[in-house]
């Protein structure tokens, strides 16, 4: 019967597949496949559910001062203005007299405008796999980030304060510390590095920096959790066995300034999916 010969052919193909399985995995091919399937999965990304939650949180009157972020929070382009705000951060905010990344700025607004306590937010700023949902701040970052879809990263290096943070971030990235004497650049300082199946982008180049900031905030397949760049920096510190960076502190902002500015001009596509 027709099917028997097809089955036979499939059998041969299966054998061939089996033989290749024994060999080294072609990493370049695998990396391309990962990118392709990630892009497919980003259409209908669980992060969209976080964006939906973030919208409710942004618009609702909340906190002891019973005020909404929509009517009180300036992300750099005017109160309540969301379009394109995420990709222009980190930026200097005069009212806070500090350079702030998006997450840090939203936290600032929650504290200063809505009356929340920083310590309460900082106690659990990141989602763990056992949590039923992401923290409010994560959902807000997702919502804000979603409004920069299609816009280029545009960190303003002409601003002296931003430039200063950039230089500090660069230095931090090269600063060796911890029990392994690692620096960010140990893994992320040159092209062509990887750990097992994961390519390690070179954050000192435009292309590598872009790979680092694109796709964040993200829904991460590991643990099925929503996470931000604040988390990513913290987790890198953990992987280097560095002390944990203070949440929303200057060290994180400096690094994010350095990496994001290196990606200036690259079009942001909104929240992504990460491994």
């Amino acid at each position: 019967m027709k099917y028997a010969s097809i089955l036979g052919a499939l059998g041969i193909l299966a054998l061939a597949g089996g033989a290749f399985a024994q060999d080294e995995i072609d990493h370049a091919k695998a990396a391309k496949e990962f990118e392709k399937f990630r892009a497919e999965m980003e259409d209908s990304n669980p992060a969209e559910l976080n964006e939906m939650k973030g919208e409710e949180l942004w618009k609702a009157k909340r906190g002891p001062k019973n005020v909404s972020l929509a009517e009180s929070c300036d992300l750099g382009l005017g109160i309540g203005k969301l379009e394109g705000a995420y990709v222009q951060m980190p930026r200097y905010f005069a009212d806070a007299d500090a350079v702030m990344d998006a997450e840090r700025r939203i936290v600032w607004c929650m504290v200063e405008k809505q009356g929340f306590k920083f310590a309460d937010i900082a106690k659990k700023p990141f989602q763990s796999p056992n949590d039923t949902g992401a923290p409010d701040i994560t959902n807000l970052v997702m919502y804000v980030a979603g409004h920069s879809r299609g816009k280029p990263f545009a960190v303003d290096l002409k601003d002296a304060k931003v430039r200063a943070m950039y230089e500090i971030g660069k230095e931090i990235s090269q600063y060796r510390a911890g029990p392994y004497d690692f620096a960010c650049t140990t893994c992320h300082g040159s092209d062509g590095k990887r750990i097992r199946m994961q390519d390690l982008p070179n954050i000192s180049t435009k292309e590598g920096a872009a790979k680092s900031v694109l796709g964040w905030p993200a829904w991460r397949m590991t643990g099925g959790v929503a996470l931000t760049t604040q988390w990513r920096m913290k987790d890198c510190f953990r992987q280097q066995r560095f002390p944990e960076p203070k949440y929303a502190s200057d060290v994180v902002t400096a690094l994010l300034t350095y990496i994001t500015a290196n990606a200036n001009g690259v079009i942001y596509k909104g929240p992504g999916i990460k491994r």
């Binding site: 099917y3 097809i6 089955l7 499939l10 299966a14 597949g17 089996g18 399985a21 995995i25 695998a30 496949e33 990962f34 399937f37 990630r38 497919e40 999965m41 893994c187 990887r194 750990i195 097992r196 199946m197 994961q198 390690l200 991460r220 397949m221 590991t222 099925g224 990513r232 987790d235 890198c236 992987q239 999916i273 990460k274 491994r275």
Partner: protein, 156 residues
């Protein structure tokens, strides 16, 4: 409509509002589900037994049954699967993963114009064959493809 749904959801259990809306035809009653969950089939730890439980013993290959999965999964927790059957009169598609603790992953039945074309994101516990089963005209067909699940590296 959104506002109504939100109000209803908040008041779920507040019988009066719910009943009223149901009667008004605004809120659709729970839709028809398949038969009670097939615990016997889904609870099978053995692939062959699971195949038998869904009536797929001896399923033959068919060129018109297409199964698309990545060769290598970036993360075994989320593996995109696409099954399209161009076998005429396909009424159901099942997805199995040979080496999963419970190999039967899902079964879909199609009617009233639904095409036998389904995509899903599944968990693949370890390098394993992913199997698609299609039922058409009382016959069963299958297609399979191996997905490699690697130990990951760093974050991302």
């Amino acid at each position: 409509m959104d506002l109504i749904r939100r109000t209803v959801l908040k008041g779920a259990g507040a019988g009066g509002v719910l009943a009223g809306l149901l009667a008004a035809g605004v809120l659709k009653p729970t839709l028809a589900y398949a038969n009670d969950w097939n615990a016997a089939a889904f609870g099978n730890k053995d692939f062959d037994a699971a195949m038998k439980a869904i009536g797929a013993e001896g399923a033959a290959a068919h060129p018109a049954l297409a199964l698309k999965v990545p060769d290598i999964a970036e993360n075994g927790a989320v593996v995109p699967v696409d099954v399209v059957s161009n076998i005429p009169n396909t009424t159901s598609i099942s997805i199995l993963v040979k080496k999963n603790p419970f190999p039967l992953v899902a079964t879909f039945d199609f009617a009233n114009g639904a095409l036998p074309d389904v995509s899903a994101r599944i968990r693949v516990a370890e390098t394993s064959a992913v199997v698609a089963v299609a039922k058409a005209d009382g016959k069963v067909y299958s297609a399979q493809k191996e997905v490699k699940v690697t130990v990951g590296g760093c974050g991302g």
